[in-house]
Amino acid sequence: MTLGRTSPLSGMMSSPLRGPPPRPAVKAGSVALRNVSKTFSNGTVALSNLDLEVREGEFVSLIGPSGCGKSTALRIMAGLTAPSSGTLEGGGGADVGFVFQEPTLMPWATVFDNVWLPLRLRRMSRTAAASAVLEALALVGLSKFTGSYPRELSGGMKMRVSIARALVIEPRLLLMDEPFAALDEITRFKLNNDLIRLKAELGTTVVFVTHSVYESVFLSSRIVVMASRPGRAIDDIAVPAPADRDEAFRSSPAYVETCRAASLALHGAMAEDDYL
């Protein structure tokens, strides 16, 4: 555990990861979608005039019914999909970590090699990358499993490897697309706590897509509620709690009240859906 360090990133910042940092137009950890629309080639309108600004250090959750374009918004921020119109500011660079809904590990590679991958693609040798890889694995509590193969791990552990792989490049922006949706509730609670701690420790900006109101309230500093057909943002709810919250927050009045507000907004979003 490295909880006692003054700055968790200081040890890794000096590593020969990158050349001189590029000068982005917006602050490194912030990302913004300006009037973004996305229409797929089959004619489906996934997003319509979405404005979304995430400031450095924020933890923003996107919630909404299926098909509201929250994953599409995230993929645009990652640079995996280009918007049909509108602009993306920040995001999309080599500084972005992305966690998929599935762990998406290479089954033929050990835990170490899976986490090494992003650095390896930057032509860092195994020895040069070792300290950063081991540090990322320590952050997610998997130091003992460096030599294991993905199939030997539980679902929760695989997801931790996936998170370690996203963290190994020291991202300023971490994008997570329903990362815990496939996990059981106990594992999910545990990983939620871990994510809160990592966020407090690393200060990374996080954009988190989820279906769960409770998860979004517990994790976020701000919740953006989206509606579908066409995908757009309909509400923006601030969560009145410090970033370094703990389990006690789950039973606090502020939590209950925010869950209520977010649920109401979500019901509003779903009431607009013609299929309900």
Binding site: F100, T104, W108, A109, S148, I186, S251, C259
Partner: protein, 300 residues
């Protein structure tokens, strides 16, 4: 709402310290595996003994059939006579085996280089694949026996035999590898895109490892086919008066009505086939056992 009420509050504390519910789980599954292996030991022994016993019994029945019915050796030689011929003609037959094996291994090696190389080329562009795939299919569907006489006219007989063996081994390796290269996890492909991986990096770090199980499947098929291709081509070339492989010895012995030697050569061909199969199966198992489901103990 009630599900996340106070009742489900988890004790506070540094959460990542030990993934307790998961670690024992992992260790339990490992020790369970070794326990199962130990318990299975006697039945594994039986698993080897049974087929060996049945095989020995079949040979004994053959021997008995020939002896009791006084079948002449030029119609059906007894296994004991085949064994004796194998020893008597060892010098000729062993050399012939080496010739055939060398052709097979060389052809398989060329098929691996050519098949994997072309599959990688196909993976680079749909247009290259579209333009070249028909040729591969035509070569595949045209029976090698029909091509062999032509090749023997155009090429020296050694090269012709090698080419035939190569042609039949080539296609399964090409098509399997191409399929494997195309079936890499799409999320991993996006991950590569996200990390700005070059085409070459994507190939080396993602597509080639993902294609490995498919390639090894193709290699196992190709290994068997290379031997068959070599034998077929040797027979075609042998009748033209050239060659000294096992199939040539069979043809030659047939002309002389030396039936026991035909059988002895046949035994050696089968033996070569079995060796190729076992070696490639072992290679496949060793490569995949740590990560691929095909190398797991069968469940159903």
């Amino acid at each position: 709402m009630s599900a996340i009420g106070p009742a489900s509050v988890i004790a506070n504390g540094p959460a990542f310290e030990a993934p307790d519910p998961e670690v024992p789980d992992f260790e339990a599954s490992v020790s369970a595996r070794t326990r199962t292996a130990r318990r299975l030991a006697p039945s594994t022994l039986l698993g080897y003994a049974l087929p060996c016993g049945v095989f020995a019994a079949a040979i004994a029945a053959w021997e008995a059939l020939v002896r009791f019915n006084d079948i002449p050796p030029y119609i059906l030689p007894a296994p004991s006579l085949i064994g004796a011929t194998l020893i008597k003609d060892w010098a000729i037959l062993f050399n012939a085996t080496l010739v055939t094996l060398r052709t097979t291994v060389l052809a398989l090696g060329l098929a691996v280089v050519g098949g994997v190389g072309l599959a990688v080329l196909f993976a680079q562009s749909k247009w290259i694949e579209r333009s070249l795939f028909p040729f591969a299919v035509i070569l595949q569907v045209t029976p090698i026996v029909a091509i062999a006489p032509l090749l023997i006219i155009y090429l020296s007989s050694g090269t012709a035999v090698l080419t035939c063996a190569f042609l039949v081994a080539f296609f399964p390796i090409l098509s399997n590898t191409a399929l494997g290269l195309a079936s890499a996890d799409h999320n991993l492909i996006e991950l590569m895109q996200l990390y700005r991986a070059s085409r070459w990096q994507g190939l080396v770090h993602l597509r080639l490892p993902a294609a490995m199980p498919y390639f090894l499947g193709g290699l196992r098929i190709g290994g068997g086919l290379a031997l068959i291709g070599a034998i077929v081509a040797e027979i075609a070339a042998g009748s033209a008066g050239q060659g000294s492989g096992l199939a040539y010895r069979i043809v030659e012995a047939g002309f002389r009505l030396n039936i026991p030697r035909m059988f002895a050569a046949l035994v050696l061909i089968s033996f070569c086939g079995v060796v190729i199969h076992v070696v490639l199966a072992a290679l496949s198992h060793l490569t995949l056992r740590r990560w691929h489901d095909s190398a797991r103990r069968k469940g159903i």
